[in-house]
């Protein structure tokens, strides 16, 4: 168990590793069905979130729909 230093939505964050993207969402209390995940500028499709492991220095973006025109 080693912590990973990553960037999530622009902020540095330490998360317990090893961790998949799905683990990260659980760690953050987010439902995978309600967010879209981008890892190092590449979209990761929902079924693959559990297959992809986070690496030191990764940049993750978690987005959803908000009110807008």
């Amino acid at each position: 168990m080693t912590d990973l230093q990553i960037t999530v939505n622009g902020d540095p964050r330490r998360v317990p590793g090893p961790a998949s993207l799905l683990d990260l969402l659980a760690h953050l209390g987010l439902d995978a069905r309600s967010v879209v995940v981008e890892l190092n500028r590449e979209i990761v499709r929902r079924p693959r979130l559990g297959d992809i492991s986070l690496a030191e220095g990764d940049t993750v973006e978690l987005v959803h729909f908000v009110g807008g025109g």
């Binding site: 999530v8 879209v36 979209i43 959803h64 729909f65 908000v66």
Partner: protein, 298 residues
Amino acid sequence: MLVDGPFASLRVTRDQPSFTMTRLGPLIFASMSTTLEPTELVDTPLTIGGRHFRSRLMAGTGKYRTNQEMVQAIEASGAEIVTVAVRRVDLDRTKEEGVLHHLSPERHFLLANTAGCYTADEAIRYARLAREAGFNEFVKLEVIGDRETLLPDTAGLLSAARALVKDGFSVLAYTNDDLVTALRLQEAGCAAVMPLASPIGSGLGLLNPYGIRAIKRRLEVPVIVDAGVGTASDACLTMEQGVDGILMNTALAEARDPVTMAWAMRHAVDAGRAAYLAGRMPRREIAVPSSPDRGMLA
């Protein structure tokens, strides 16, 4: 029966119960006369990118005072297409809910926008993230060129439109009232072109009816006026130009009473559409009496 003339899409039906027609279009009018049978005018549905829509009013979901007010206003507007924006999840306040906690994707057609994007690459990135949410392949493409006016960067817009069309998106492109840009967007394969009435959030109404009419006259894809409508008369006047629909957000969200304004907008859009289909009388610079000249007392 079908009405002959320029609007072959307009059907006048008599002696038919209204429930058979309500599914076909938004314009259902029953004559209040006691001597005439009910008369209904039925419009064709609005078709964008192969999908059919009943309402010609599209509503944004931003800037409402409360989510409840937003939901009620959209309900009152009768809008089927509602726009949403793509933003980072707020991780510090995970109780912050996305708009989908309030709006049902089964009830509304979610049209994601690329609002806030200033380059083609950024807009393409946002569009792809939106599509990944899994609702549809439509995107309201905005590439903004200026922070003060929020006017589009038409070069970036065209470049993003071409890329997104190639990538399988149905692109509805927010643009200015320039005919040539609208034509280029159509050539790029956009499913609809969305010229502004006036700048986003300005509420200045329809500033260039001539420009909007020129775009509508020349384009084959639907023309949806997006942005600038401030009140019901603006919406009515805009629809009277013959455009296929209107997208509005601030006019509802910033009204003192958004739900009542949404009701007014719904009727204004229907009235403007019906007036366009009806064909207005010519403008004259002299008076023409409505009562007979003959039969006056000596």
